[in-house]
Amino acid sequence: MKKYRHVLNIGIQNSLTYRFNFLVRSLFGLIPLMAMLSVWRAIYKGNGEQGRGDVVGTYTFAEMVSYYLLTTIVDALTAVNEDDWQIAADIKDGNISQFLLKPIDYLWYRFCLFLSGRVTYLAVAAAPITIFILCLHKYFVLPPDGLALGFFLVSVVFTALLQFFMSYTMAMLAFWVLEVSTFIFILFAFEYLASGHLFPLDILPQWLERVLYCTPFPYQLYFPISIYMGKTTGGELARGLIIQFAWVCAMYALARFAWNRGIKKYAAVGG
């Protein structure tokens, strides 16, 4: 365990050199968010004027604003940053050879770096995000009770694990293909839509929402937020958490499997 603590430490120091990049990224990220909220405000306003009611799906305007603010928070907590690119580059450049010789597991090594990246990002981005939320505090709804908040946090942990294992598995493609970036972008496109980055999934037609729930994507973002907002409760919540955990295990197994297969093919180019 001690060695991984060192990795964590080094990782934090490393990513601290990018603190300026992190700050810029979080600030620039707020601009499209503001634009998105403006579009929704215009929609609610127009709907109100035309007597179409003041909810979209099951969301009031305040809930819709909260939804997007929560996506920003969960993203800051769980999104992989450049881990997948770095892992792919490690494989391509032959840097993983040293891990085959050392008594350290590459997956957990990368996981420590992922964690340290998140910790640093949070430290930098917390201030701008908090200020932004405080500016919109009258639209920021709180979870219905402490229990929902607790399950939300559990689910966020699963989300982080799921995000990491999926990216790790994707990066394993670097054993077989030269350019993984296209594949990463394709996966990212699906994630962007199906995990609820663009809009809450329950404003979709119900059949489509059900189809999406057969994939791991909703569990990467939408699911924890729906717990926070009290849209997923009771038996549905318990079942959802179990399925989310199952996806985490499945992705972990897949990541291990891909690594083992890849290592057999690995030629240590330039390593």
Partner: protein, 267 residues
């Protein structure tokens, strides 16, 4: 003058054939990138589709008008990407590694060669998809644009591309001051998201900033308004053109000021 122009055209065609050679080396990758861009374009369109499940208009923009807007924005972005994006993001690498030395020594305008070194051919294919979506949206709107409509539209798209290029190039010149400019350049890329949103959704300070300082809300909204016959105020055309000239002048000023700071690296 004509000699000079001819010389630059010869140089540029050489750069083109270089880029074509480079793309043909990785054909599979070339096609995959087009697929990725199509996927993201489809994503934007489906977002509009979902929004309009729950409303009839955003401001006065109806569904197919917004589709037209997203299409126009895609065309502008992709043409910009084809000519300039890679070159803008590469500038900080050129500065960091000192490779800019070689370009400065060439007996041609350095900004010309820095800005146009590589062509991303996929951008043209993607722009064509955007054009197809525009045509389909026009069909849905039962609007047949006349030749003047199309000419004005294309001219305004060009102005939009100049704005994107000038602002991104200006941000890229920050690399002369700090090595961390790449993050800022990609940050600007985020702002493209605003360009495809209907201008009427915005108000107050946000609208003012993104109209008069960083004219994201003009770049594709004005051309789309022309093509949907939605232009209420002809002055916005003049504003867009003026902004593109101003942005270009500003970027030239920034480029010259930054270049003076260049102190090569490891040479």
């Amino acid at each position: 003058m004509t000699m000079n122009l001819k010389r630059y055209l010869t140089i540029y065609s050489a750069l083109w054939s270089n880029s074509v050679t480079r793309e043909t080396m990785f054909k599979g990758n070339f096609l995959l990138w087009i697929f990725v861009e199509c996927l993201w374009f489809g994503l934007q369109l489906s977002f509009i589709g979902v929004l309009y499940l729950h409303t009839d208009n955003i401001g006065t923009w109806t569904k197919w008008q917004v589709v037209m807007l997203v299409g126009a924005s895609h065309v502008i972005q992709q043409i910009f990407q084809a000519f300039f994006l890679v070159n803008c993001t590469n500038l900080s690498e050129l500065v960091r590694t000192g490779k800019l030395d070689f370009l400065l020594l060439l007996p041609i305008n350095t900004r010309f060669v820095v800005s146009l070194r590589q062509v991303d051919l996929g951008g043209f294919v993607n722009a064509a998809f955007g054009g197809a979506v525009i045509a389909y949206a026009a069909h849905q709107l039962h609007f047949i644009p006349t030749i003047p409509h199309i000419v004005v539209f294309l001219a305004l798209c060009l102005a939009g591309i100049v704005i994107h290029y000038s602002l991104m190039f200006l941000l890229a010149t920050i690399s002369f001051w700090t090595v961390r400019a790449q993050g800022i350049v990609w940050g600007y890329y985020n702002l493209f998201n605003i360009a495809r949103m209907p201008d009427e959704a915005f108000q107050g300070l946000f609208k003012a900033v993104f109209t008069f300082a960083i004219p994201m809300l003009l770049v594709s909204n004005v051309p789309a308004r022309v093509l949907t016959d939605k232009l209420e105020d002809r002055n916005t055309i003049l504003l867009l053109l003026a902004m593109s000239v101003a942005c270009f002048a500003l970027s030239e000023f920034g480029w010259r000021a930054s270049l003076r700071r260049y102190t090569s690296a490891s040479s």
